[in-house]
Symmetry: C2
Amino acid sequence: MKTNIRISVDAMGGDNGPEIVVHGAFLAFKQCKNVEYLFHGKEEVLKPLLDKYSALKPISKIIHCEKIISMDEKPSQALRKGRGSSSMWSCLQAVKDGDADVAVSGGNTGALMAMATFCLRPMKGISRPAIAAIWPSIRADIVVLDVGATVGGDAKQLVDFAILGSALARALFDQDAPKVGLLNVGVEEVKGLEPVKEASRILSQAKDAGFSYYGFVEGDDIGKGTVDVVVTEGFTGNIALKTAEGTARQVGTYLKNALQADFISKLGAFIAQRGLRAFKAKMDPRAGNGGVFLGLNGIVIKSHGGTDEIGFKSALCLAHEMAKDELLEKIGEGMENFPTSLIQSSKTKDSPSE
Amino acid sequence: MKTNIRISVDAMGGDNGPEIVVHGAFLAFKQCKNVEYLFHGKEEVLKPLLDKYSALKPISKIIHCEKIISMDEKPSQALRKGRGSSSMWSCLQAVKDGDADVAVSGGNTGALMAMATFCLRPMKGISRPAIAAIWPSIRADIVVLDVGATVGGDAKQLVDFAILGSALARALFDQDAPKVGLLNVGVEEVKGLEPVKEASRILSQAKDAGFSYYGFVEGDDIGKGTVDVVVTEGFTGNIALKTAEGTARQVGTYLKNALQADFISKLGAFIAQRGLRAFKAKMDPRAGNGGVFLGLNGIVIKSHGGTDEIGFKSALCLAHEMAKDELLEKIGEGMENFPTSLIQSSKTKDSPSE
């Protein structure tokens, strides 16, 4: 287990600027300890901020970068413009060069994924990277992937995601063999499900690969926590994630309205404020902020662009945990232990490679 | 507007048997009035139930059917076994023969869709039917389709769904031109999104087709109610629906636990019980029970299999409303007014037809 974790931070990414990034880094330092920061961005902006959070000064270094990737830039544009010289690229390069253990950015997701793939390259045997979400469930936190890196995907990719996601679960939750489920619809006899069914056939034959395959799960199994790792392709995964976020907000609004409808309900809510505060804390999306890019030769954490210092702190603490628990090594083991013959013998061996 | 609505009911469908079906029919009769029932199922079971809810007797007729389609039967099996002689088929046949205005079943979704497609046939110009959900949002109820009839789907199918869904919104919400959004992921520059992008190009050119095209929406726009109709293919739609259901239950559990954590919170919750009851009613999935099969020559409502009499009543009331507001005619108008040249000139004209 690593002790001092070097986090490379894209200080210019996100909607709310470097102030919340450095403030978040300060909060994460207080919480996680044993951390060093490399801040990538405009020195003239970052220096005064480090003066403000002076506890960070001895453990921080600023890497000056002129260019900033904007939140609405297309991935291909960002790659052309920002390669080499942007704070986002520089943040990733530090991981590639071994100067940092993990990279964190709140910048534009598409651009970050494109740059990370280009800079760090997919791991051997992985055709496409994935973004994993740490998803709260009634039972415990679980891993859901892919939540937006790829669209579509064949059986081989879904199997890759199972390997990647279970390694993440092993690193995060300290489990030996996390339960993996494949997201599916209830009605099985539908055309077009072939990749999902084929992936299921492969996974059910894999033994001692660092996970136990549970079978198909449906959308409501995510919130129930039926399995530790839910595998799906990125279009569906992204929509499931955002739908859940929207539903949680919607239910919160209903509750607020109901408790403000009349004086007695308001009074009751006032009295129950301790319980309601605990509920609110549980529902706070900032507590679980951070998507994990998996399948690259380096760990990258994507923070929500619109978050504040509390949310950014969560992303940094997640990065800290990932690096400390040696996620990459765990993924490597998972890939080594997976019987590759299963994939090669599958019908989808002609899947697009990198 | 029709006044007396004849509802054809598969009395043997669902997990909880004919008792909840007939009880639900009794409740729906009290609520909706102007209704007649055709109950399809075993006469020896249904007769005593009608004796029990004797107010139903003058407005009900029993069509005896020997066979029952079980909840775990595969669609193809069900079709082979139940064609002609099962309560599910008989329920649909009554709509086909003009003996009823709408069919309702709580049976196995896949079997019901297969039988409905076979019995009622897709409408002219529609390649595949869809299942639409009436989804509560913060703003108002909205329509989301497809939530599980098809998997995958090309641009033409997504355009069909926009036509079908907007007709449903016009019938249900009394809107002239409901806003239609296409469900998409945030990152646009991803391969594999071609059908969604192509559908968007077609829809943005359609004028006076009974809806106004809003553009892309994301998962969290569903709960917000950004548009009146959300269009997607059935795999993603089904998973979004179930994920939302799971999230709502999960949030409800968090709230319950938080309000039972200590005495003071319990006391507050007791005092706020009126507000909390209103909240609970708002969250009750039985209130919005019923998926609408669209794109067939007849209206079919699918009730949740596991619901009780309250939920089945909701499905029957939804059926009543659909038939009363002449949904089929509205769909017909929508199809007539849609500039077919847009679809024919699209790249996807070679889409699989029925």
